[in-house]
Structures are given as structure tokens and as C-alpha cells.
């Protein structure tokens, strides 16, 4: 797994294992620690569950159920039933896209918290075109619906990027506002023009032929493959192309990149647009791969989870895959845990929060963003001196 810069290839081959360890040691410790603390949370929560005797081993039951929900049992595997693992992969795919969206932004020194909104817009674009082309030949319908989702997600990322670059509106607050606007826009459309007229509840038609094909039965859709391809492509863009160099340079020191003749404003706009497009793909992934239609309450935890995925992977596109897999598995297993142990599925949120806190507490995360993501608040002001963040 070569994760360094192009010029890093001359490094000692021998140290590869050591380097890999230095990369994964902290995240592993963080994950294990958080799972242990999660067990403590389960124990502490027990008195709150009405009508249930205290069970000191409830956390074992809960985690067992979660693991079973995420990967199934050997018994199932022997019977050729891999639905749990496939389910985890289905949960993971949008997180890979979302994690790439956040991580790519980080590389340019931008914090795209708007993945949730771009995700919703991506799904909205996909469902609109998908319903319209529901009866068209599958390849046409799929490509058009996916492109529509990517385009709307990109547009939703473009707006805060443009505002950041040309008026100094900080992307963190504006992307969050765009999230809320997206929620309202989606509700308005799904209960309005996109609604199935006869239906009592607000729901759209099915996307029909635009649905992504199943590549791994029972429900493993095309998105799983696309997510892997996307991670590799993003890595390639960042570390092998001149544009990727510009993105990383701007993120590390936008002043120096401007002085060197790059155009940080355009790079900011392009980065946010590209990031939004990736988030839009996450939306396509859920809509065209899983739900195939949209209700007014459409939405998942992909937005927040993506931030955790990117932080845990330190924005490295390749590492984002295992990171997304971790959260995808927890989300996939949480349902069974809720049924078997009566612990709310939101426990995953708590574990996730603990992972995030632990990551910040490890000094590693500090070097993640090479520049102040708050960035250029007034047009000519400086991004925090890089010297400050580099020991």
C-alpha cells in the first residue's frame, strides 16, 4: 500500500512494515479503547431500560449481536448465506464516497461538513431523473440518474466553495446551513412535485430501470465496486496529478501556493465542487442502490459518519476504505443489537463520538490539516501560518 508522496518511493523497503504500523497503531488503539468504553456505556445504561433485571454480561450479548449483524455466523456461511457481510458492504459503500468527500476537502484545507446536504441533493437528483427514465433502457437510465445525482451534489458543494473563495464566507457554517436548506428542499419536493399523487404519504415513484444492478446477492449493488474504484481514483488524483499537487499545496499553505502562481480561489471552488460530487455519489449509492424511491424523511447518518471516517483514516483515500468498513459494519450490526440486547442502535453514535475524542487526544490528528481550515475569512487575510502547525 503506497500512501506517500511520489518522491517518497526511494525510502527503505525494509521499513514498510514499520511505517504501516506507525500509520495504523493509533487508530487501532483508539478503536479498541472506544469499544471497551462502549461496553461501559452499555452497563451504565442498563438501569434505564424499564422492566429488565441487571445483566453484567449484557455488553457481551450486545457486541455479539452487533458482530453477528455485521458479518453473520459461521453457520450461515457454511450454508452459503453471506447476506450479513454483503449488508455491511452495502452500508460501507456510501461511507467510502462520503469519507472521500470529506477527506479530499481536508487535503485542500477545507472542512466540508456539508456532506449530508450534498448527499441529499445527490439522492434527489438521482430520484428525479431515475423516476423520469424509469422505463428507459437500463444503461441509459442508470448513467443519467447517476450523473444527475453527481451534478446536484457538485452544485451543492460549489455554492459554499464559491462563497468561500470570493466572499470569504467560512465553509463550515455555510455548508451546515446548506444541510438544513437541503432537508427543507427535499421535503418540499417530495411532498410536492415529486410525490406519487394517489399515495397517502409523501413518497416518490420507484426509479425502475435506473436502479443500480446487484453484483453480490442478495443486495450487494454496483456501488460497492464503484466505491473501491473511487477511492483509487481519488488517491491517484491527489498524489499523481498536477491538480492533486495544487490541491495539497493550497491546503498546506494557500499563501505560498498563490505566490507560486497557483490560484487558490479556483482550487477552493473546484475542490468543494469535486467533494460535493463525491458526496452526491454517496446519495446515488443509497437511493439507486438501496431505497429506489424517496420519502420526505429520507436521510441517513452518512453525513456525520463521513467526517468520522475521514478523520480516522487521516484523509488517506486508501485508508478511508477500511475506516468506512468499520463504521459500515457497526451500522449494519446495530439493528440486530437493538433487537437482541435492547440497546438502542444509537450506541454506534456514542462509540463514534468516543473514537473522535480519542483521535483528537492523540497528537496525530493535529497534523492532519496543514493549515487553518477557518481560512481566509476576509479576502486577503492569511491562513494561519504553516509554521505554527509544523513542529
Amino acid at each position: 500500500m503506497s500512501a506517500g508522496t511520489p518522491t517518497a518511493e526511494t525510502r527503505d523497503r525494509v521499513s514498510t512494515a514499520a511505517r504501516l504500523w506507525s500509520v495504523v497503531a493509533v487508530p487501532l488503539a483508539v478503536i479498541v479503547g472506544s469499544v471497551v468504553l462502549g461496553a461501559a456505556v452499555i452497563l451504565l445504561s442498563e438501569p434505564l431500560i424499564p422492566g429488565k433485571a441487571f445483566d453484567p454480561w449484557l455488553w457481551v450479548t450486545a457486541y455479539q449481536a452487533m458482530i453477528q449483524g455485521a458479518i453473520g455466523t459461521p453457520h450461515e456461511w457454511l450454508a452459503g448465506d453471506f447476506h450479513a457481510i454483503v449488508g455491511t458492504m452495502v452500508n460501507t459503500a456510501p461511507l467510502v464516497f462520503g469519507g472521500l468527500a470529506v477527506g479530499f476537502g481536508f487535503k485542500a484545507g477545507l472542512f466540508n461538513i456539508g456532506v449530508q446536504g450534498q448527499f441529499l441533493l445527490g439522492a434527489l437528483g438521482a430520484v428525479t431523473v431515475g423516476v423520469w427514465l424509469a422505463a428507459a433502457p437500463a444503461p441509459v437510465a442508470i448513467v443519467c440518474a447517476t450523473l444527475a445525482g453527481m451534478a446536484l451534489g457538485a452544485a451543492w458543494g460549489f455554492v459554499p466553495g464559491f462563497l468561500k473563495a470570493f466572499s470569504g464566507a467560512h465553509e463550515v457554517v455555510s455548508t451546515i446551513m446548506m444541510n438544513y436548506i437541503a432537508i427543507q428542499l427535499l421535503a418540499a419536493l417530495v411532498s410536492g412535485p415529486l410525490k406519487v399523487p394517489q399515495s397517502p404519504q409523501a413518497i416518490t415513484y420507484d426509479v425502475g430501470n435506473a436502479a443500480w444492478p446487484i453484483i453480490l446477492p442478495p443486495n450487494g449493488h454496483l456501488g460497492i465496486l464503484l466505491a473501491v474504484i473511487a477511492a483509487i481514483v481519488v488517491w491517484w488524483i491527489l498524489f499523481r496529478t498536477t491538480w492533486g499537487f495544487e490541491v495539497r499545496a493550497t491546503g498546506a499553505n494557500s499563501d505560498a501556493s498563490r505566490y507560486a502562481g497557483m490560484r487558490p480561489r479556483l482550487i477552493i471552488v473546484a475542490t468543494m465542487t469535486f467533494s460535493g460530487m463525491l458526496a452526491g455519489l454517496a446519495g446515488c449509492c443509497v437511493l439507486l442502490g438501496v431505497t429506489h424511491s424517496m420519502t420526505s424523511s429520507f436521510g441517513t447518518t452518512v453525513g456525520f459518519d463521513s467526517i468520522a471516517v475521514a478523520l480516522l483514516a487521516r484523509s488517506n483515500p486508501i485508508l478511508i476504505m477500511p475506516s468506512a468498513l468499520l463504521f459500515g459494519a457497526m451500522r449494519a450490526g446495530a439493528g440486530l443489537m437493538q433487537i437482541k440486547a435492547e440497546i438502542p442502535a444509537e450506541l454506534v453514535d456514542v462509540i463514534q463520538a468516543m473514537i473522535l475524542f480519542a483521535l483528537v487526544a492523540s497528537p496525530v490528528i493535529r497534523r492532519l490539516l496543514h493549515a487553518d481550515p477557518r481560512g481566509e475569512r476576509h479576502t486577503e487575510s492569511a491562513v494561519a501560518s504553516v509554521g505554527d502547525s509544523v513542529p
Binding site: 518522491t7 496529478t241 491538480w243 499545496a249 497534523r367 504553516v386 509554521g387
Partner: protein, 523 residues
């Protein structure tokens, strides 16, 4: 203050055998130093010799590994700036420690507030005391003025007032004249003399030999963390001090040779520009640089030099005027377009503008050319070509690093600047723009860079040099343009220019023009 000026008792400040180690470097190695009442004691050493570390130890910002500090003969442990201030030690830092958006009074009060009651400030009483204090040293200062509106000379006075407001008896000044004109320097020297006469003890840190000779009663020279000599001004001279400071015989001035100016290369006419806040800062600049000539810009910081440089290299859009390079109009061209036509630029702040510190040396060397052949093919980067050329540049420009993949942040200041120089100098140039090219560097690096600049000039490049160090401008320039309030007020012949004349022009814009300027801008 008469009680302070006793002669028999122990010195107010004595430092004995101070040693301070940082990982991989001994910043101070058994340094001893004492200051008597009413004495100005100069601490002379080049950048990185350990002066600042020693003063941080004195100010409680660093704990020494060995050695003692004695105040009035009594050993003390200074726990931090607050403690130092309480013991009468005050420091005027090289980079002023003033809050620009606050008033003079608020800056002086800060940390030593005059209170009306437990919660609220007594600004009236504070103003009265500040005015009084200022008058006792012969100047009148408006306590309500915002510090950001003051000239550096006046900011320096605010710093000194700040110390006096705290009843300082030991005053440490770290490179206090770095940003002053010769005249402002003289004025501050008068104030310092008066302070010493009143019995204050002053430590004067500098690397400027003639200044030290002029102001100090005693000079301690340090090199690489050790005291290498102590002199009295009467028994030494500049050459002696320079040799002590650097450890070898140094040429105090580079051999700039003779310039052979060719055709006019850069021509700027009627250039106007505004600063970031939209205020007009360039009021019609005209200048011309010929091929094979170094034009130095002398001026007090903030007179439009930054904007002029930015306009020339394409980072700032002029509001009026014209810039031509070798006969071609380049007004408003982008930095990249200029770079491609043979303009190179070494920005003032290498950490902020010149380098991307977390990136490798190789990546920093292609920061302006990464998109061109041979470093890219289409959208793809060519890592092998980048590395190959980096290895060659590291050799030719004597950049000390274990590998070209090392991060720029791991290099010393001198080597970092050499990376910038290698990137900008290593091709055919028409125009080379240098903004503070040697700030904060050691003598060896300065010599190296100066030689490179001369070599570029001799190869027929037009060089524009901006430096806050008047000495550097005088040393290198074939012609000197003095900038004052957004205009070029005079152009002098470099080798024959008189320092005091230049200083006077910098401070006043020339007597006649000074009046015109004040008439234009009613304060």
C-alpha cells in the same frame, strides 16, 4: 532613582554560567554576563548565536539547565514574565509586543492595569501618568491613539514607556533598531542614554557592529552559545568585533564589482495601487531598472514597498499606471504568466509565502514549475524528473539536507532560503525581485545569497531589491530609490550614496517634499 546608582554594591543583574540545551543543540553554553547601574551593555552575536535564548532565560520564558541569575547579588529563580517584571526586568522585543488594534494607553496598561476599583479600569489616571512619563523623556504621546496608526519609531517609544510604567530598572532591548531609520535610531539612542543616566541598567542586543560601538559602555560577544570576548568600545573596532562574532575573518562588504547596465528591462510608470483595506498606498511610482543592474528600494516599512513588489510580480492589481518588461506591457499579468516570461520572486516571509513547510524539498523546488515539462506530462506528475533535478539543485546551491524527500520544515533557516533561491534563480531571468532576501540568516548564508545575486546581475538580469536593512540596500545596490508615502522621492547612485542622506530621505521624503506630503494628507 538615586538609590540605584550606587557603585560598590553588587551589580543589579548578573548571569553566571548559563547553559541551555535543546534537543540536538546547545543554545547557551556557560554564558556569564553582568550589567551595572547606569550601564549600557551590548550583547553582540549573529543570528542563531544564542542571544534570544539567553534573554528568554532571563525573562523566565526558558529554564536554564545550569547556571544562576543574581539580582543585586541575590540568587533568584525567575518563573515567568510576570515574575521578571515584578523584579524590575523588562524586555523590548525585536518584534514589537504591541496589540495593534488597542490604544497606546491600553497597551501600556495591559498586565499592569491602573484600576478605579476591583473591576474597572481608571483610564483617566493612566492617561495622566503616561503623559507625564513621556514628557520626562522629552516626548509627547497621545494615549488615545491606536498603536496601528503609529510609525515604528513611535511604537518603539510605546514599548519603552511600557517598561518604564512598570518601574523597570533593568531594560533589555532585542535588536531595537532593526526597523528604524538612522535618524530614528539616533533619537532612540538619546532616550536610552537618558535612561542610563538616571541609573537604569540596559542590555542592548544587536548584530550591528557600528551601533554597538556607538551606544555601548561594554560589549560582550557570543558565538554558537559561548562568550568569545568582552570589549570596551574604545579598545576595539568593527573588524575586530566582526572576527570575534563570526569566528573567522569576514569581508564586511561583498565585492559587488562593476555593473554594466544594458537595455532598460523593467519600467514602471505612474503606478498606483491600494492596500488590502482599499486605502491608496502607491501614489504614482516611476522607476526603471536596466539589465545587469541592481536597484535597491530604501524606505521605512509600510511606505508602499510591499504593494509595489506585489504589483510588479502580479499579486496585486494596480489601479493605475503601467509596467513593462523588456518592452512588453505586463500590467496586471498573473504571477504564473510573469514567471514564464522570466520574472523570479523571493518573497519576504519564506515560511508563509516562499515555502510549503510540510512538503518535501523536491516538491518545494518545483512549486512554480510543477505543471510544465519535464515535471509533468499532461495532467500527470513526473516524480523521477522532479527528484533528479532536485538532487542536482541541492548540490549546486549547497543545501544541507540528508535527502531531497526531507520536509522543508526540517531545514535550518539558511537552508530553507537556499531552497527558495535555488527555485527562483536556477533559470534564465529577465527580472529578479528580492524582498528581504537575507532576513534572520547567519552570515554564511547571507554571503552565499549575496554572491548569487551579484552573479545573476552580471548575467544580465535586472534586480529589484527591497530590504528593511538599509545596510543591505547600501551594500548591494547599483542605484538606490528611496520610497516615502507611496512614491519614489529620490534615486541615488548606489556606491556613492551617503547613509545619513538616505536615512533622512526615508524619514522625511526630503524636506520640501515632506511639507507637500503633509499638506496632501491632513492628519
Amino acid at each position: 532613582m538615586a538609590g540605584l546608582s550606587g557603585t560598590i554594591q553588587a551589580p543589579p543583574l548578573e548571569m553566571r554560567g548559563i547553559t541551555k540545551r535543546y534537543p540536538g543543540v546547545v543554545a547557551n553554553d556557560g554564558i556569564s554576563l553582568d550589567v551595572r547601574p547606569g550601564e549600557i551593555h551590548a550583547l553582540l552575536g549573529e543570528n542563531g548565536a544564542g542571544k534570544t535564548t539567553l534573554m528568554n532565560v532571563l525573562y523566565g520564558l526558558a529554564t536554564p539547565d545550569e547556571g544562576q541569575i543574581l539580582l543585586d547579588g541575590e540568587q533568584v529563580r525567575i518563573s515567568g514574565p510576570a515574575d521578571a517584571i515584578a523584579r524590575g526586568i523588562n524586555m523590548v522585543h525585536q518584534h514589537f509586543m504591541l496589540v495593534p488594534v488597542l490604544s497606546v494607553a491600553d497597551n501600556i496598561l495591559l498586565g499592569e492595569e491602573t484600576m478605579a476599583n476591583r473591576v474597572f479600569l481608571d483610564r483617566k489616571e493612566a492617561h495622566r501618568r503616561i503623559l507625564e512619563l513621556g514628557r520626562s523623556f522629552g516626548f509627547e504621546i497621545d494615549p488615545e491613539a491606536k498603536v496601528s496608526t503609529l510609525s515604528v519609531g513611535w511604537q518603539q517609544r510605546v514599548e519603552i514607556l511600557k517598561a518604564l510604567y512598570r518601574n523597570a530598572r533593568i531594560l533589555v532591548l532585542d535588536e531595537p533598531t532593526a526597523v528604524l531609520t538612522p535618524q530614528e535610531t539616533e533619537e532612540i539612542f538619546v532616550v536610552l542614554r537618558r535612561l542610563a543616566d538616571q541609573g537604569h541598567s540596559i542590555v542592548f542586543i544587536s548584530h550591528k557592529l557600528y551601533e554597538v560601538l556607538e551606544i555601548a559602555d561594554r560589549i560582550t560577544v557570543i558565538r554558537r552559545g559561548r562568550v568569545v570576548g568582552e570589549r570596551r568600545p574604545t579598545e576595539t573596532n568593527e573588524d575586530d568585533l566582526a572576527e570575534l562574532m563570526v569566528g573567522r575573518e569576514v569581508q564586511l562588504t561583498v565585492d559587488r564589482g562593476v555593473s554594466n547596465p544594458g537595455r532598460p528591462m523593467l519600467r514602471v510608470s505612474g503606478l498606483e495601487a491600494t492596500d488590502d483595506r482599499g486605502h491608496a498606498v502607491l501614489g504614482g511610482v516611476d522607476l526603471e531598472i536596466r539589465a545587469g543592474e541592481i536597484l535597491g528600494i530604501a524606505g521605512v516599512a509600510g511606505n508602499g514597498q510591499d504593494e509595489l513588489v506585489e504589483a510588479i510580480v502580479g499579486l496585486r492589481k494596480p489601479t493605475a499606471g503601467k509596467i513593462t518588461l523588456d518592452g512588453r506591457d505586463i500590467t496586471g499579468s498573473s504571477p504564473r504568466a510573469l514567471n514564464e516570461t522570466g520574472v523570479a520572486y523571493v518573497p519576504a516571509d519564506r515560511h508563509r509565502f516562499g515555502l510549503i513547510l510540510p512538503f518535501s524539498i523536491a516538491d518545494n523546488l518545483v512549486l512554480t514549475s510543477y505543471y510544465r515539462r519535464p515535471y509533468s506530462r499532461g495532467v500527470l506528475r513526473d516524480g523521477a524528473a522532479i527528484e533528479r533535478d532536485a538532487i542536482s539543485a541541492v548540490e549546486r546551491f549547497d543545501i544541507r539536507t540528508p535527502s531531497v524527500t526531507a520536509r522543508a520544515a526540517t531545514l535550518s533557516g539558511g537552508n530553507q532560503q537556499k531552497v527558495v533561491v535555488a527555485r527562483e534563480f536556477d533559470r534564465d531571468l529577465k527580472l529578479l525581485v528580492l524582498d528581504q532576501p537575507t532576513r534572520g540568516l547567519d552570515v554564511g548564508s547571507i554571503e552565499f545569497i549575496h554572491k548569487q545575486v551579484i552573479a545573476k546581475r552580471d548575467a544580465g538580469t535586472a534586480v529589484l531589491l527591497v530590504s528593511a536593512e538599509l545596510d543591505e540596500v547600501l551594500e548591494l545596490s547599483d542605484r538606490i530609490a528611496v520610497m516615502y508615502r507611496g512614491r519614489i522621492v529620490a534615486v541615488l547612485d548606489g556606491p556613492t550614496a551617503d547613509k545619513n542622506e538616505v536615512g533622512l530621505l526615508m524619514a522625511t521624503g526630503g524636506a520640501a517634499r515632506a511639507e507637500a506630503a503633509t499638506a496632501e494628507v491632513p492628519a
